[in-house]
């Protein structure tokens, strides 16, 4: 498209901006806050105009307007009848708009965040159990309740012996990651999000006694003080990977794939590789950071095993090695191979998992739901008798404490949250992360926008969210008469399906409500 003029799309705007002129005081907060230049002030007429074709529906102006004069309506489908597309359930506005854009650009459509489409959400089709009469429920405010869990390979059996001061373990336990609550922050790279966001997550992880993940962007120097609460990633581009990076971290994650774009690599354009990113990723300033789709030294489980053990050697067998894969059709067999390849933790990312940029067609059509993938992997590893050799971390679109507790009952040791943590910082899931102009200051490195995330304040919001979810998990556990999260793991008898087919129940390994 370099030498060709881009065609006009002739599409109506995605969003509507409604300004209550009676409330607007022309303070221009909206003008300054919109990074897409939707609003402009006309001094001649002392009025503010809004160019709806520029609006992405992030609601930043609406949130910041001191008088509540603005209402933003997002998406043609959320404003029925507005653009006249809503009378066709087959040729939806989504399809018509996509064709319009591609007819103008000839390019692959990009998007951000996780798959938003109306595929089944199994979390909403699973119900939890509670104790009545025959077994006592537990009040977490009065009785001890344990959310602590450990990630890493567990020995097949524990042998004990009498030592000089009493009984002691004879078996050597492989390295474990101690989590005070079974919630980790998933990989979001410095570059995709800015340093303030990384710092907010790192601060939150440290305060909560859990871990954040660098993604493939490397660990910025200023965040080394949080290294003991950091999982560092080794991805296909190997950006920012060096001896100190591996040795300082709490754990290492080999990234094979990501739920939002299984089978697809990453591309941080050169314009975004400024001094700090260049230093952290260890690439020249201004060059594109291309993460290949596969890891070019991993074409088999045997190859993966070599990398797993190379990293174990590099860190003297002192930290657990994670392997993260996207949930795809053969996930259970692949997971089995990964565990046999020596991974201590396997992270599975479902198709609702977020991203900073992915082709829309991939995000919306590739991969499978985490609920099914998680149940399939846990069942398979148990059948093969190797479940204790690795912990399972489920990822991909966890929206609430209820989703999390259901995942643990399905077999997860812990879960990763990404989008939810960003939403706690302000993100409204407008899905325009790939533009680099995030008005909430999250998915941008523009120094004017990035300061909208105050790491201290954003960190507090994330801490509050996880504390709230942890308390809710304690309440739900207590209701089931369980006093430790580890006692719920894989305990699928505490789950019942509602409105699911026999096959779905079979894969999830749960009974139907009423059974």
């Amino acid at each position: 498209m370099d030498d060709k003029e881009m065609l006009r799309t002739l599409l109506p705007p995605d969003c509507r901006v409604i300004r209550d002129e009676g409330k607007c005081i022309r303070c221009q907060v909206c003008v300054r806050q919109c990074s897409y230049e939707t609003h402009s002030y006309d001094p001649a007429e002392d009025t503010i105009r809004s160019d709806e074709s520029r609006c992405v529906g992030c609601f930043r102006c609406q949130a910041m307007c001191p008088t509540g004069a603005l209402t933003v309506l997002r998406g043609a489908e959320t404003a029925p009848g507005h653009y006249g597309y809503s009378d066709n359930d087959y040729w939806t506005a989504r399809h018509i708009r996509a064709i319009g854009k591609q007819a103008a650009t000839g390019g692959i459509l990009l998007t951000g965040m996780g798959c938003p489409l109306d595929y089944p959400v199994y979390w909403d089709r699973i119900l939890l159990d509670a104790s009545q009469v025959t077994n006592p429920s537990i009040d977490p405010l009065r009785e001890p309740m344990e959310l602590r869990t450990f990630l890493g390979a567990k020995p097949d059996r524990m042998e004990i012996e009498m030592g000089p001061t009493g009984l002691r373990a004879k078996t050597t336990v492989p390295p474990q990651l101690e989590l005070k609550t079974p919630i980790l922050f998933s990989a979001m790279s410095y570059g995709a999000v800015n340093l303030n966001v990384c710092e907010a997550l790192a601060r939150a992880a440290k305060e909560l006694g859990t871990y954040w993940n660098t993604g493939e962007g490397g660990l910025p120097r200023s965040l080394y003080p949080y290294a003991d609460h950091t999982i560092v990633q080794v991805a296909s581009g190997r950006f920012g990977v060096h001896a100190e990076y591996l040795q300082t971290a709490a754990a290492i994650e080999i990234k094979i794939g990501q739920g939002a774009k299984p089978g697809i690599g990453g591309h941080l354009p050169g314009e975004k590789v400024f001094e700090m990113v260049s230093e952290t990723r260890m690439i020249p300033e201004g060059t594109d950071a291309i993460s290949p789709a596969p890891q070019h030294d991993i074409y088999s489980i045997e190859d993966l095993k070599q990398l797993v053990f190379a990293l174990k050697e590099a860190t003297n067998y002192s930290k657990p090695i994670f392997v993260k894969i996207a949930a795809v059709h053969n996930v259970a067999a692949i997971a089995s191979g990964i565990v046999r390849g020596g991974a201590d933790v396997i992270a599975i990312d479902g198709f609702r998992g977020g991203t900073g940029a992915a082709p829309t067609v991939i995000r919306d059509n590739v991969g499978i739901p985490i609920e099914l993938a998680l149940a399939a992997v846990d069942s398979r590893l148990r059948q093969e008798g190797i479940r204790q050799q690795a912990s399972i971390v489920a990822a991909g679109g966890f929206r609430s404490s209820a989703d999390i507790i259901k995942a643990i009952a399905l077999g997860a040791d812990a879960i990763y949250i990404g989008t939810a943590a960003l939403v706690a910082m302000g993100c409204t899931v407008c899905q325009k992360c790939y533009t680099g102009k995030c008005p909430w200051g999250i998915a941008t490195n523009d120094p004017y926008l990035a300061r909208r995330v105050n790491p201290e304040l954003a960190g507090e919001r994330v801490v509050n969210l996880i504390r709230a979810w942890s308390s809710e998990i304690e309440e739900m556990l207590g209701g089931m008469g369980i006093n430790a999260i580890e006692s719920l793991r894989g305990n699928r008898l505490h789950l019942r399906g509602i409105g699911l087919t026999q096959k779905e129940l079979e894969i999830l390994g749960i009974l139907h409500a009423g059974e």
Binding site: I25, R26, C27, P66, Y448, L457
Partner: protein, 146 residues
Amino acid sequence: MKRVYPVEEHCMACRRCEVACIVEHSPSKDPVKAYSNPATRPLNRAIFEEKGPRSFSLMCRQCEDAPCIEACMTGAMGRDARGVVVVDEGRCVGCWMCLMVCPYGALQREERTRKISLKCDLCPDRETPACVEACTNRALVFEDES
């Protein structure tokens, strides 16, 4: 004493502090009414500065050895019971000596009805100044630094 401190690295140039200041110093304290007539709209005492991506909101530092009090020839500049540097509008003649000696440029000239110096009064009617409450990013903090 507690003062308002700007935190430059967290200021995101929204200027809600200015709006809050203007509204707080209007008779009605209602934003729509405060802004309805530019002729009677109060001036903002939180002064916004911006260069490139850097910005901050500046208001009176409530200096312990306030040069403006020293310089005021009519005795209009003084300290109230809270220790806040305030202008006695009845005595102010608009000579602007205070403006000239202020090391921070934290005073404003009100010239629309008559000449009066305007400055941050730390919102006497509120527990937390309006600008601090309006800031969504903790770029203005109200604390005792000592």
